[in-house]
């Protein structure tokens, strides 16, 4: 089972997770939904959703605004009841074990809300009281971790959006969470704040926690997460490791060379090439065989064409996302 998770995980987290799964026989999936459906009147917000989120990774949940991301998160946290289907978190059915499950889950839903008239530290005290005595001991470490120790005694109404997001993460950490659910955490953050949050998510994952990151910012999911799921109009369109979603089979090559016309003539009829076209400083080829790159390189050198760049063309997640959602949703 640990081997199955390997593509999703960073090396250190993978090793830690593998030993943990074997040692205590825990479920390799931290979130699992089956046939999850939610309607609001006649409108289907989530339809027959089968989601599988592996432990110990940053998992992106990608979709347009209104695709059903927040509705799913609200169901995961028991804030609203599904009309059909089942949810398992940390290996247990949420409908039956909600308090035990959520005791180790931290969440920011849509945007972090606080009592503006209380200080950051007092807001954490309020949530720690609800979580239990151990949470009180985590207030100072959590504030320190998000860099708010110095501002902890200021009223939250004086905080910037970025500081509120960080305080929201600190509030999540009071649970010593196995799973953090962050709904659009990058919203309203400046580039520096986004970078900080991305780094923090990476650190949390390295500690063996799972971060479930919902966003419509495709670029951020690609940079932050090892795996993702794509939702469109309430339906799950695709899920898996980012590389797999991107279709990283490296069948398209960008070749920079001295004589693009000669290179094109040479490669257009080569059996390892399915398609070739000239670019400004070389050629772009689509391989007929994924292992044909070496053959092509040798052929160009044999023909005396100097090659100074030879790189696989990697589709962006944005390309794939738009491709997938357009195909399924009939978007233009």
């Amino acid at each position: 089972m640990a081997q199955r998770l390997k593509p999703y995980l960073r090396p250190m987290a993978a090793a830690r997770m593998a030993s943990m799964i074997v040692a205590v026989n825990i479920s390799p999936l931290i979130i699992e939904t089956q046939g999850l459906t939610k309607r609001f009147g006649q409108r289907h917000a989530v339809v027959d959703l089968n989601l599988a989120v592996p432990r110990g990774c940053a998992f992106g949940f990608l979709g347009h605004n209104g695709a059903g991301k927040t509705t799913l998160i609200r169901m995961l946290l028991g804030l609203t009841r599904p009309d059909a289907g089942a949810i398992r978190i940390r290996g247990r059915v949420i409908a039956e074990h909600r308090p035990e499950i959520l005791a180790r889950v931290g969440a920011i839903i849509e945007e972090p809300h606080f009592h503006g008239h209380l200080t950051g530290r007092e807001n954490l005290r309020v949530v720690a009281a609800v979580r239990g005595p151990e949470a009180h001991t985590r207030i100072e470490p959590a504030l320190a971790r998000v860099g708010l120790s110095d501002r902890g005694n200021d009223r939250v109404r004086t905080y910037s959006q970025g500081m509120r997001q960080r305080l929201g993460i600190a509030r999540c950490l009071l649970a010593d969470p196995e799973l953090l659910i962050l709904d659009e955490p990058m919203n309203g953050l400046d580039p520096g704040g986004i970078l900080e949050l991305r780094t923090m998510i990476g650190e949390l994952v390295e500690e063996g926690r799972t971060v479930f990151l919902s966003s419509h910012l495709i670029d951020e999911i690609e940079k932050t997460c090892e795996a993702a799921a794509v939702i469109d109009r309430g339906r799950l369109i695709a899920q898996g490791p980012i590389g797999q979603l991107l279709g990283d089979d490296h069948t398209e090559l960008d070749i920079g060379c001295e004589d693009p016309s000669a290179a094109l003539d040479l490669l257009a009829t080569h059996p390892a090439v399915a398609l070739a076209r000239k670019t400004t400083d070389g050629v772009r080829v689509t391989l007929a065989d994924a292992n044909g790159a070496g053959v092509i390189n040798s052929r160009l050198i044999e023909a005396g064409i100097a090659v100074y760049r030879f790189s696989p063309v990697r589709a962006s997640l944005e390309d794939r996302f738009l491709e997938i959602t357009s195909r399924v949703g009939g978007r233009s």
């Binding site: 609200r74 946290l77 028991g78 804030l79 609203t80 909600r98 308090p99 035990e100 499950i101 959520l102 005791a103 889950v105 969440a107 839903i109 972090p112 809300h113 606080f114 009592h115 503006g116 008239h117 209380l118 007092e122 005290r125 309020v126 949530v127 720690a128 009281a129 609800v130 979580r131 239990g132 005595p133 009180h136 509030r171 649970a175």
Partner: protein, 265 residues
């Protein structure tokens, strides 16, 4: 949920309330300020009944039925609505803690804070009673203790009413309008609607007035006397008044708990 967590949650709700500057200042003015103002005005008017038993009973009436209860309503409303209006309720529910527990801790927290103001007003009343008594008779210990008990009950029941209605509506303005409107205008109108007969016994203010200590003390037609300040009493059995007060505590609490359990967070 064990007792430690319950006490911590109550303490957290007390913290939320006491840091709410606006409602706290208003509650202070309504519970202590009004008492000071009352005795101040009586002093200026050189009223013979300024201190003593007469002044004491007027003071506790102001606390238990009029302005002190407005302070309790303000605090109860704040306790009942703060989590929802700030958006924090959703985050508290997401901790997995039972929604009923999240509601129930609001009631003792609000009552605790409301009683601080009520007791402060009571102590000011007691001080003025003896300081300005002159030759007038002063209340005995029994009357003082019964009055204190009545003020506590009145404060607690009105506070829990406001917490329940606040949790039910989730709106601060709607709750304040509804509860203050009910406790002042609607209750007084119902009191005067003689054709309703004993149905009027079910009005909280009338039941509280019925249990008010020393209600027969002083002349009803004498301005400034306790009889003139609170004359919403109706003849009814004490047990009926007690049952009415219990109902006004329990029913809004159940309604608030039901709403807290069932609302989408």
């Amino acid at each position: 949920m064990n007792l430690t967590i319950a006490f911590q949650m109550i303490a957290a709700d007390v913290l939320k309330l006491r840091r709410s500057r606006g409602p706290m200042v208003a509650a202070l003015v309504l519970s202590v300020g009004i008492i000071v103002l009352y005795f101040g005005v009586m002093e200026v008017r050189r009223n013979a009944n300024l201190g003593g038993t007469e002044g004491f009973l007027n003071g506790i009436t102001l606390l238990g039925i009029y302005f002190g209860s407005f302070a309790a309503i303000l605090i109860g409303t704040e306790a009942g609505t703060a989590d929802v209006t700030s958006g924090v309720f959703r985050d508290l529910v997401a901790t997995g803690r039972s929604r009923t527990a999240l509601f129930l801790v609001r009631v003792p927290a609000a009552i605790t804070v409301a009683l601080v103001f009520t007791f402060s007003g009571f102590l000011v009343t007691l001080g003025a009673t003896f300081a300005f008594s002159g030759s007038a008779p002063t209340p005995d210990l029994g009357l003082i203790l019964r009055s204190a008990g009545w003020v506590v009950v009145a404060t607690a029941v009105v506070t829990s009413l406001a917490v329940g209605v606040g949790s039910l509506t989730g709106s601060r303005s709607l709750t304040l309008t509804a509860v203050i409107g009910w406790q002042t205008i609607a209750s007084t109108l119902l009191y005067t609607a003689v054709f309703l007969g004993s149905a009027r016994d079910g009005v909280l203010l009338i039941a509280l007035s019925h249990l008010r200590p020393g209600k027969h003390y002083g002349a009803p037609d004498s301005p400034g006397s306790s009889g003139a300040l609170a004359d919403l009493d109706l003849p009814m059995a004490t047990a009926v008044a007690v049952l009415v007060i219990i109902a006004w505590t329990v029913v809004p609490t159940i309604a608030g708990a039901w709403r807290t359990r069932n609302q989408d967070a």
